[in-house]
Structures are given as C-alpha cells and as structure tokens.
Subunit: 229 residues, 2 copies
DNA sequence: AATATAGTGTGTATTTACTACACTAAGTAA
DNA sequence: TTACTTAGTGTAGTAAATACACACTATATT
C-alpha cells in the first residue's frame, strides 16, 4: 500500500485552503490532479511534509510553489486523520487556510509549475473534490467565518489600500449577510485601526472613494480588545 | 534514530491537556515519565496513534486508559510539528484538550496502570515539562480561555448538578477576572440553557444554594446564537 | 447570646452599544 | 447640462451591559 507514495519518512501531508477576494466574490484555489489516486479530479493544493521542515515551513513552501509569493497570511486550523481518508494508506493531513490579496492591480494567476492546472473557483460553486477535501474546505470556511468576527483578518484579503465599501463587501461575503453602511463605517472606524490616506480610488466611472489602510501599529496597541461584528 | 521508538507505521502522537476544576482551582493532569527520553520528568499524558484508529479515537483511548472514564468532553486544537521537538526523531503531535468533572462526589484519581505516577497540578503552579509540553499546555489553556467566552464548555468542568456560584467561579478562574454576581446570574439565566432543579446543595455550613443543570436540548435549539461573556 | 463570616437572592438607574432609516455631494459619461 | 452611480453623513429609539445597595440565611466562634 504505502509503496505507492513518494519516499518521505512518514506520511503526513499539508492541505491548504487558499482564499482570495476578487470581483466581489470569495474564491478558493484548486488544482486538477494529474496522478492517481483521483487522477483528473479537483483537489485542494497540498503536499507531503518533508523530514527537515516544520509544518508552517511546509505550508509556506506549498504556497510559494503555487503562487510565487512569500509572506502570505496563513494559519493551521485542523488535522484530519481518519483511517480511511487516503485510499493508498494512512495519511494524516494538517490543514491550513491562507488569505491572499488578489484585488486591484495584479490579478494573481497560480503557477503552472505546481500542477498541470490550478485555478480560482467561487466558493459557492465548487466541483466535487478528491479525498475528504470537501470536508477540509468546509471546516476551513467555517473557521474564517468565526475568526473574521473577532479578529482583523479581512484586511488580508484586500490590497494594501482599499475603500470602506470594499471592506464591507468582504465582511458581507464571509459572514453571509448584508450590513448597514453607516453602522459598518461607524463601528469599523471606531476601532481606530484604519488609517485614512490622502488618496482616492482611481479608474472608476463614478465618484471615487477615499482609500484606507490597516494600521498594524494601532492594532497592536489594542492588546486583546476585540474587534467584533 | 527512529529505531528507538515502538513499531507503529508512522510517528504521530496525541498529547492531552486534561483540565479539571476542584476546590476552586483549575487543575491539569500530569504524568511522571518512566522511560527515556526525559525519564522522571513531568509530562502531559499522550501516546502514539495506532494504525487502525482515528485521531479522536486515539485521544479517547488515552483518556480512558488514564481516567477509566469514557465520554469525556474533548477537542483537537493544534498540531505541533517542529523538526526538533522530539530528540529521537521526527514526531508530530496532535494536541487535544479535555474537560473533566472532578467536583463534588467522586474525587477522580488517575489510574496507575497508565503511568508510574499521574496526578493533578494547579495550572498556576506547574513544574518543568518534558519535550515542548510547556508550549502545548499554554496553547491549550489559551484555547479554552477563548472558547469559554463563546461556547458553553464551563459545564463540562462541573458536576451534573451545580450552583450558580460554582459556575461563576469557573468562569472567573478561566477568564481570569472577577465578575459581578448579579449581572452574571442575570446574563447566564437569560440564555435559557440552564434548568433549575427542585433541589438544594447539601452538606454546606451555610445557606444551601439552588442546584442547576445544563440543558443540552435547549442549547441545541439556540442554533448558533452565541453565549458570550 | 452576640458577632463575624460567607453565601444566596432580588431591583433599579446609568451608560453603552445596536439598529433603523434617507438624504446630499461628487464624479463620470453621454 | 443632464442623468446616473456611488460616496458619504447624523440622529433617535431601543436593547443590552454594567454598576451599585440592601435584605436574608445559615454556620462558626467567642
């Protein structure tokens, strides 16, 4: 059974649920497998953990190979270890979610070196996934839904400079309901973690909105006070 | 290196942070190791995962061996995988916390079949721990601190029947600050997940308090509404 | 028997946070 | 210059969280 797997000293793998926000949609990065098992199926990007790397390093490596980017916001959230989850033997998978800035300038395309095909899919329109990746995805989505309510992770999905409307869109998408614009702004600004820039949105065919950025210093000063929606 | 370890097909282990509440203190269950490495050191209870059991099953088994009890509240919370964390080779450890009803009647003693010694220690007074167990413990404590603010896990630390004062004690201990008694009661009762019994505390040298129990049915009906402190 | 202690049990006023809601201003395109 | 689209703002009512004061019960100590 195990002989089919590449030679690493143990069989644990990392799987990543990579979220991105673009064109008002929440997307997730999938690959198409070109090996058995589940050849030609869609799957979450992942790989075996090498003997000489930590779990976080392994996840970073996978993301780097996949996107070409380093320094991506990423967190381990659960480990899946059902006996039957991999048809060729016992493989335990440590799952990470990652949040990626897609918006605006550079429309990020996954690298083809990593897999035959890699592409963004709207979270509300996923194909069937290989292994137990459906479950891994769902648990990941649930986690960021919970987390966004208490911690400032929405910014990780937006470009450096963003408008309050974009920010609100991210919240609405992830939480899954509409928010009142005035209340949203009031509350968001009241946390004091946003910096208003002297700059406006460009290239839009209507009144340009003010740009803001997330101010990590100010956030650090809050020290545990919750930002919550 | 790896040859020193027992023969399981892969080297994953489970480590458990078992919390208990007794005599107004939050305690954690430790063992004294009687094998190398870290012979005679204190450590968190844990064991290797068997090929034919899932992670949850493995954690349940360890808890059963340790306490003799089944059906313990327990949750996986993080996986530790630094390359150097085990001196004899690469061992990835999946960490669980468990909450145990110690209070009142049966003062739970850990079974000696599991380890030479096993004992309860006050969380604020821990000895040095083997491996990276200090970190595993700290992360576990952090997790339940967070969780108790949003989900009804405090009940898992109390006997079936408990008083509101006991419940408040648990909250204060875990959250780490004093709460106003009247407000605590009002808020706690307003969630509607407690059932007042026709029964009072016994064997106390002062006015006996009303007993309550947590009503799982009512809680299930809330469906996502948060209980929060 | 008096007193100190430690716990239960209720009521109310104040402050704070949440919600609902509609218009004007600015920029673009035709 | 007009039509269109999105940005941006304030207030009032309601609900929730907090802070606070007192009365009652039972026991232990002197």
């Amino acid at each position: 059974m195990k002989e089919d797997l590449p030679q690493f000293n143990s069989t644990f793998s990392i799987d990543c649920v990579v979220f991105g926000f673009d064109e008002g949609e929440l997307k997730v990065l999938l690959i198409e497998r070109n090996e058995e098992p589940f050849k030609d199926w869609c799957a979450l990007p992942g790989n075996l953990v090498r003997v000489d790397e930590s779990l976080d390093q392994s996840a970073s490596r996978i993301l780097k190979e996949l996107t070409g980017l380093g320094d991506i916001f990423m967190e381990q959230y659960y480990t899946f270890g059902d006996v039957q989850r991999h048809p060729q033997g016992r493989v335990i998978s440590i799952a990470y979610y990652a949040l990626l800035r897609l918006g605006g300038d550079k429309a990020l395309k996954p690298l083809t070196s990593y897999a035959k095909k890699a592409f963004w899919k709207n979270v509300s329109d996923l194909p069937k996934l290989a292994f137990d990746h459906q479950m891994i995805f769902e648990k990941g989505l649930e986690k960021i839904k919970r987390r966004i309510k208490h911690q400032p992770i929405a910014f990780e999905l937006l470009p450096e400079k963003f408008t309050l409307t974009q920010l609100q869109n991210v919240y609405e998408l992830i939480i899954g309901k509409k928010l009142d614009k005035r209340n949203f702004r009031k509350k968001m600004l009241s946390f004091g973690v946003l910096k208003e820039l002297d700059e406006k949105q460009k290239g839009v065919s209507f009144r340009a909105a003010m740009l803001y950025k997330f101010d990590r210093r100010k956030y650090a000063k809050l020290f545990g006070k919750e930002i919550s929606f």
